[in-house]
Point group: C2
Chain length 395, copies 2
């Protein structure tokens, strides 16, 4: 069990109708003016935005609004938010949406908190934010875990660079999580969210570390419950318990709980970042789903016991003591079958990726030969290419 720090100070306000409290909550903290940041038209059409603004009005909290955040939130949108906050003397950012809106809000908060530094420098690791505006969230999508995490990913349109960095300034002050607000999430986006949540836990689970009994059991338990809840939410979008368990699992899967005492690198996320970087139409969860089975089969021989543990404990596969590899592969197959049962892609052909693109993807994923990806098996360019190819070959 490696040494670690765990610090997840976000106040989570969870359950039915909790978003109606947002005005009261912000007032408690004493903020007088907020930026309400949101995405496309769904927050408007659903009436959620109006409800939120009313709740602020009722408590006499002033606000400015900025909508239009899209998937893969952009630097230019964040810059717009930073200027607006400075001009209007905003004291906190209220994100109403999913991971993209929350990440855009975190970026704005970093920018306002450090007026002398160009905010992009934090993403290129040229500078470190010293403080930030507080961010509160009203979550509308169970997937990214950004509502409780220290991460933030932004795309700089100049050069199409998608970069993320972790910072203690990124932990939201509070997150309001009402599972009912996710009833209208489409079947496809629900599937993407289920995959994303599982992958946040699995990437850590298949990281490095020994003797992490507690962390392993928590990860396995989270996965089992996400599988159960994900199945139900796929079929019954307005099932409260399913939506609630997905939402809570989403926050816990990315708040550092699932890697306490372990080190990890998120190899599949790295492979996927290149993919959706080149094909922006590919949703993050769908890209992960399409890559994971091939990644797992490639890495499995280097960590048969770990994959067998996953198969037995998460998927109730019976251990084949004479042939642990068989058990390990059965767990990978069960995962692939589960993704497919949610109509998620399990290969790159389903995503219409061109075979000609694979070499470039692999090249980019190594930062043009500048890095390998650490993990259960260290992946160099040839390994990465083999995984991309395997992901093309199937289906």
């Amino acid at each position: 069990m490696d040494n670690f720090e765990f610090y997840a100070p976000t106040r989570m306000i969870f359950g039915k109708d909790t978003h109606l409290q947002v005005g009261k909550i912000i007032k408690e903290y004493g903020f007088k003016k907020v930026l309400v940041h949101f995405g496309g038209n769904s927050a408007k059409k659903s009436g959620l935005l109006d409800t939120v603004l009313q709740a602020l009005d009722q408590e006499g909290i002033a606000y400015v609004t900025l909508g239009g955040v899209q998937a893969n939130p952009t630097l230019s949108m964040a810059r717009q938010g930073i200027e607006l906050c400075k001009k209007e003397g905003v004291e906190m950012v209220l994100a109403v949406g999913g991971g993209s809106v929350i990440d855009s809000s975190k970026c704005i908060a970093d920018g306002v908190g450090n007026p002398d530094v160009d905010v992009w420098k934090f993403f290129t690791k040229e500078a470190v934010p010293k403080k930030a505006l507080p961010v509160g969230t009203i979550l509308t999508l169970s997937a990214s875990g950004s509502e409780m995490s220290n991460s933030c990913v932004i795309t700089n349109e100049e050069g199409g660079l998608k970069r993320g960095f972790n910072s203690v300034t990124h932990r939201p002050l509070f997150s309001i999580c009402n599972p009912e607000l996710t009833y209208t999430v489409s079947k496809f986006q629900t599937g993407c969210g289920t995959v994303d949540i599982m992958m946040h836990t699995m990437e850590r689970y298949f990281g490095l570390g020994e003797g992490t009994l507690v962390t392993d059991r928590i990860a396995e338990g989270l996965l089992k419950s996400v599988i159960e809840a994900g199945k139900i939410a796929d079929q019954e979008p307005c099932n409260y318990e399913a939506r609630a368990n997905l939402m809570w699992a989403g926050s816990l899967s990315h708040n550092d709980l699932t890697h306490a005492g372990r080190s990890f690198f998120m190899q599949v996320h790295q492979l996927e970042h290149e993919l959706s970087g080149m094909y922006p139409r590919i949703a993050h969860g769908a890209g992960l789903s399409a890559l994971w089975p091939s990644w797992a089969r490639y890495v499995c021989p280097s960590a048969v016991e770990r994959f067998a543990q996953f198969a037995v404990r998460v998927w109730n596969v019976e251990m084949d003591f004479e042939n642990p590899m068989k058990t390990a592969l059965a767990g990978i197959q069960a995962t692939e079958d589960f993704f497919a049962s949610l109509d998620m892609p399990v290969n790159l052909r389903q995503l219409e990726v061109s075979p000609d693109a694979l070499d470039e993807l692999a090249e980019k994923c190594t930062f043009f030969g500048k890095r390998t990806l650490p993990g259960l098996k260290v992946l160099g360019k040839e390994d990465i290419l083999a995984i991309y190819r395997a992901a093309m070959g199937k289906g």
Copy 2:
């Protein structure tokens, strides 16, 4: 899944040699003078206290010390600490010890933070603390979970009243958890700690609530790993992985994670508080261990499915679908056997409790007829007496 708030902002610094960083950590926060609060002679003898004071010296942090906290920390000791802090202009309290030292520190912090209110009034619920000094901890015992919890229990020697209350002011600012510092914990105290950690999770698990998939799985996972680590620590006191997993599980079992979406009342803790109130020689963990099997068998018929789930998922009992009660009881038996395997008492006779005391214990536990204990089965005086009697009858 009930609505809930989850807020556990303590920064956990976990692992080997982490206590050596204490001076640096406190300096980061900018505190210039601290109260170092500790227990008996073990912190002195082991050299831990000297090490801590040296670490403070190295960073130029001034301190005063106050030792002598005992099990069931007293109000008079806390009052002494409050006076000392006021006189010396202390800015934070550093607890070096287990739950008793940490609870005493929390009480001191409440007292100093609210100089116009008698600190005992917080425990009698006549007043609510508005602020408190920050508390940091260096943990030396895996048991209470106080290092990450919002609870605090103090005994007022006048009248022998043991009272607790929960407050956001009780969440430590940081906790330094070095499992190596628990190598010297005796076999008996290790057993008590294992039982206490399990019971913090089990009391929530056997609370009320439905559809808490994630919370159930986390609770079951914690229990499985505590059982595994507890067994090893019992036999190999210097096994790092065992001590580390016990320590981390102890913090997570009482930080509210294991009841997210559920309500609970801790019936067994209530039964035990009266017991160790009347017999101060009885250690908390030993009291819990002696009472739980009888409590469980009494309540089980009201919640057969829940106890069967516990048996199957925590103890790997095979489900008897024709007779779920048989499965449920097998899980209780397995728990009792496990406690016994740690040389923990599993009945009140082993604790030399007098049969004549039972009626008074039951009477006190209902606050002299003023309350019943809510839960899977609501317990009135006759129920409580029946449980105490069953706990005497066996063994």
